[in-house]
Symmetry: C2
Subunit: 347 residues, 2 copies
């Protein structure tokens, strides 16, 4: 495979090379990359702004994450935050810190993933920064979206007795990570052995190439359902549910037997001697939407295969999980925590 | 000095600690940090978006840059890009990658600098990301500004015979860096020796605590001058002038004897056996505004101590510097280039 050193292009050359084939699709994008700032026209709506930073060795491991997948995921997780406000992502700015370990071809792969996500979700890449890094790859993405003022959904809006709904299913992304880490360990101890990934297609895809639930936001609009509170599940259902509870000043009752878990997740969890419920509660990175709706909206979503009612908001209660045997357990947020994880690894 | 480990707070704890004293001043900020995305109301103007990423060891050296100054500068250089579009910065999102080398107290210093800049320029910090890094400090900032559509100034708008104007003076920030690097080398060879920074106040401040020319944008508005093209000088006058030439499809004649250079820059350049003109042309990081105006606007800016006419746009010409002896030299962009610098350092 060809290897072109980044230093042979220089900073301006690299930026020009990466951005010259970018297409602009949003009507609101007046000017993309190439000036001091991008220019976005008014639409009469509110703007939504979200940012995420991903650091090599903390958020991803290039030993098993292909660069194109990494770029795709880095973009999609930001789009997911905009959908979680009931908005549409329209523009993104991408800043990359690149060590000289990366060739131009490697950066093109990463960029191809970012641009594929932009194309799939109809988002314009309108600028950013591309700089040198002394150590590893850093990816920082900011996404700007739009929504009519009356459509924006906050975490704080849940009302007592509102139904708690989740899209898709939970726990698969976490198990995908377990499989990738297991196969990496096998490979490191026995180089040359082929990874055993058979039968894990769905859960690997959920980890490596997650999608944001644009379709669910559009579906809710079509059904005439305005969520009262919403967020995306990035840290895990338990951790994220607690954000809605805290900000809405309410407790919740979630029912273990209602949690949507794919059959392949149940069997993979058994392989790893993990409890599927714990994977669904604390796994994170599913990028499903977690939202609350008025009980009067129940008939509009009933029976929809993309949506599952998993509980209801409950004033004066702690956040509780009602287990299959009827026992109640306070939900602990054991979501992914970069700083604590790092300190544990060192101890 | 106290040292509190970041791991003792965890990711959510750190973000909460850093963001709990943020005040919101812009009328357009509907919601700042704390939800999936910040929410910004419409103003009937265009939005301007710019981003910069700073990596430790490439863009700054913590051996001689105080963290508070670093935070201030990281914010200000982004505000400068918005002013360079003739806009007003209103919101910013800040993403930090922090290794465990940094204590909570160190992060607070960095954040204090960012928040001071936000306060001085009236910009709201509305979100971002705070993550763990395996190596060094990464700072990624995105700033969103506003301007009425008819006020936005692009790089491409210069017309033949337009006057080229620069604010303030040039070359000081580059010499400030030379002094800091010299004193660092002295300190490393003879630990304990105090740095010799006397008489260098102005040029050190230009390097360590640059300001964005908000005042110049406001002045031009008061004077009724609408620049035809504008950008800020971050890579150096030569490199940045060429951007305006390229995008406006014009050449330029700049006059060496017109370049605004502070007397302390001339004497510091002599100390380092550097040509002050070269410092002004290629030094970079001055964050002055470089813009073009119609000749008919000359009377409006004539004699203003903040503004210097340094040349004019010239159709069919190369970008030229006319030296004091009348000889013409093609302007070479030798601006700061992270990737080339890195490869040169290694060779």
């Amino acid at each position: 495979m060809d290897r072109t050193e980044l230093s042979s292009l220089g900073e301006f050359g690299l930026i020009k090379h990466l951005t010259e084939h970018i297409t602009i699709n949003q009507k609101s994008t007046v000017l993309g990359a190439g000036d001091d700032a991008a220019v976005i026209s008014e639409t009469g709506e509110q703007s939504l702004v979200t940012a995420d930073m991903l650091m090599e060795g903390v958020h991803f491991d290039l030993a098993y994450v292909p660069l194109k997948h990494l770029g795709y995921k880095a973009a999609v997780v930001n789009f997911s935050d905009i959908y979680a406000m009931n908005g549409r992502p329209e523009q993104m700015v991408v800043s990359l810190g690149l060590s000289n370990r990366f060739s131009l071809e490697a950066v093109e792969e990463l960029y191809a993933g970012i641009l594929l996500a932009a194309e799939v979700y109809g988002v314009d890449l309108v600028g950013g920064d591309t700089v040198s890094s002394k150590a590893g790859l850093a990816i920082s993405i900011t996404v700007i979206g739009k929504a009519p003022e009356e459509k924006v959904v906050y975490r704080k809006g849940a009302k007592n007795k509102d139904l708690v709904v989740v899209s898709g299913d939970l726990g698969a992304a976490y198990l995908g990570l377990q499989i990738l880490e297991r196969e990496k360990a096998v490979f490191e101890s026995t180089p040359g052995v082929q990874p055993d990934l058979e039968g894990y297609d769905y859960i690997l895809q959920r980890q490596l190439k997650p999608e944001a639930r644009k379709d669910v936001v559009e579906l809710l609009s079509q059904l005439g359902v305005q969520p009262t509170a919403m967020m995306d599940i990035s840290d895990g259902l338990a951790s994220d549910m607690k954000h809605i509870c805290d900000q809405s000043n309410l407790g919740v009752h979630l029912y273990e037997d209602k949690l949507p878990i794919d059959p392949t997740v149940v069997s993979a969890a058994e392989d790893f001697r993990l409890d599927p419920t714990m994977c669904a509660l604390n796994g994170g990175e599913d990028y499903e939407l977690l939202f609350t709706i008025a009980q009067s909206d129940y008939d509009k979503i009933k029976g929809n295969p993309h949506l599952t009612v998993i509980g209801h908001m409950e004033e004066g209660s702690a956040p509780l999980l009602i287990a299959r045997d009827g026992s109640a357990h306070e939900i602990q947020a054991q979501g992914w925590d970069a700083f604590k994880t790092e300190s544990e690894e060192e101890s």
